[in-house]
């Protein structure tokens, strides 16, 4: 496996050389010499950059070589001499990324990197992300798959670009479905995929349904201008149904709720702050208190109070109370 790997890595080197000057590369080579790093440090660097480690017993030179090959590409992007900064700056912003060569390309038609196999792992991941695919780790076993996927996406994106300019009707047809199916694998779990499939098909179906529904409505409106059209159903009856005829009983206007008036009242009452039961209890309780007071109390002070109250009522014009007060007075006078 070693020879093809080295060839592949050299290709990557050359492609990056196109974008960055040779001077910068040589500078970084001189500035940061991996031979000065320890073997353990080299190992960890390689792992961090997703490079397959050589067998454990190999010499430091092998590590140095691999380190030089793989990590210098990232150095070329941002030429800092500090080792720690380089490892931290792995998350490169898109503007500084050597993957995207939009501004520097001589050929204006080529906006994307054409050959997925020449990309680095990170460039491949970024390219997939551009097409809306969130790729998992790009390891030795997964790389081939993601390259194939990127190729497919590039083909589709080029093909759809030609279609879009042609006819709008095709947007609702298979080409759009294919595009949406392609975007499905960017979901991370299988269950989410399955959930998205019906959602996307529903989207497409709703779009498809809009057109025929509108057409049908228009036709009906032209044919029968007097009929009412609803959103749910389209009536097309030319004559009104005869009321009281076969199986069409006359329905007087009933309230919408099939509830007796008693329950309606109860509901009204229940809406008050205090429930009806408590109100009834309170009323009974107060009535009992008044009754007991009236029956039991024999003190003159209370009678005087009652008399004064009755006098007040008399002044206001309550004639009925007069004989009562006279009766009570007569009773007590008897005692």
């Amino acid at each position: 496996d070693a020879p093809p790997q080295s060839k592949c890595c050299k290709k990557q080197q050359y492609s990056n050389c196109k974008t960055n000057s040779l001077q910068i590369l040589s500078q970084t080579w001189r500035l940061k010499d991996p031979a000065h790093l320890s073997k353990a440090r080299l190992k960890s660097d390689l792992v961090a950059h997703n490079v397959a480690l050589p067998p454990a017993a190999s010499k430091k030179e092998v590590y140095v070589e691999l380190h030089l090959r793989n990590i210098e590409q990232k150095n070329a992007a941002e030429f800092s001499s500090d080792d720690e900064e380089q490892t931290q700056e792995e998350a490169v912003s898109p503007s500084e990324n050597p993957c995207f060569e939009n501004g520097r390309n001589e050929d204006p038609e080529v906006t994307q990197v054409p050959d997925p196999s020449k990309l680095t792992d990170e460039c491949l991941k970024a390219a997939l992300l551009k097409h809306g695919v969130k790729a998992g780790p790009i390891v030795a076993s997964t790389r081939a798959l993601y390259e194939k996927k990127l190729r497919k996406l590039l083909l589709h994106s080029n093909g759809d670009g030609e279609l879009n300019g042609a006819e709008k009707a095709e947007l609702y047809s298979d080409s759009e479905e294919e595009q949406e199916e392609e975007e499905e694998p960017d979901e991370e779990s299988v269950s989410e995929e399955e959930q998205q499939k019906p959602k996307e098909t529903k989207k497409i179906q709703s779009e498809n349904n809009k057109l025929p529904q509108e057409k049908v409505k228009n036709i009906l409106k032209e044919a029968l201008p007097e009929t009412k059209t609803t959103t749910t159903r389209i009536y097309a009856t030319p004559r009104r149904p005869i009321k009281g005829a076969a199986q069409r009983p006359i329905q007087y206007s009933l309230p919408h709720t099939l509830v007796s008036p008693v329950t309606l009242e109860r509901r009204e009452v229940e809406r008050r702050l205090v429930s009806i039961h408590i109100q009834i209890l309170f009323f009974v309780f107060v009535a009992c208190i008044i009754f007991f007071i009236y029956v039991n109390v024999q003190d003159s002070t209370v009678l005087a109070l009652l008399d004064s109250l009755s006098h007040c009522f008399d002044k206001e014009g309550g004639t009925l109370l007069l004989p009562e007060t006279e009766d009570t007075q007569a009773l007590y006078e008897q005692d």
Partner: protein, 83 residues
């Protein structure tokens, strides 16, 4: 899903542990040999590959096709074998 085979039932009946890759439903001798040549000698390694692909069926299917030349039905069985 179509009915599962006896091999599938045997595989899912217990944790896969150190079962060889040929214990997977749909992987016979020929396909098993191809997988072992690539380094996938145990069932859990194939499971690992499925997980590394973020449990995406389509990608896993493509990978199986490339690796051992399995057809769609065999791949489906393998996918359902792994929980």
């Amino acid at each position: 899903m179509s009915s599962t085979s006896q091999k599938h039932k045997d595989f899912v009946a217990e944790p896969m542990g150190e079962k060889p890759v040929m214990a997977l439903a749909g992987i016979g001798e020929v396909l098993g040999k191809r997988l072992e040549e690539k380094g996938f000698d145990k069932a859990y390694v194939v499971l690992g590959q499925f997980l590394v692909l973020k449990k995406e069926e389509e990608l896993f299917r493509d990978w199986l096709k490339d690796t051992c030349g399995a057809n769609a039905k065999q791949q489906e069985r393998r996918r359902t074998s792994s929980p």
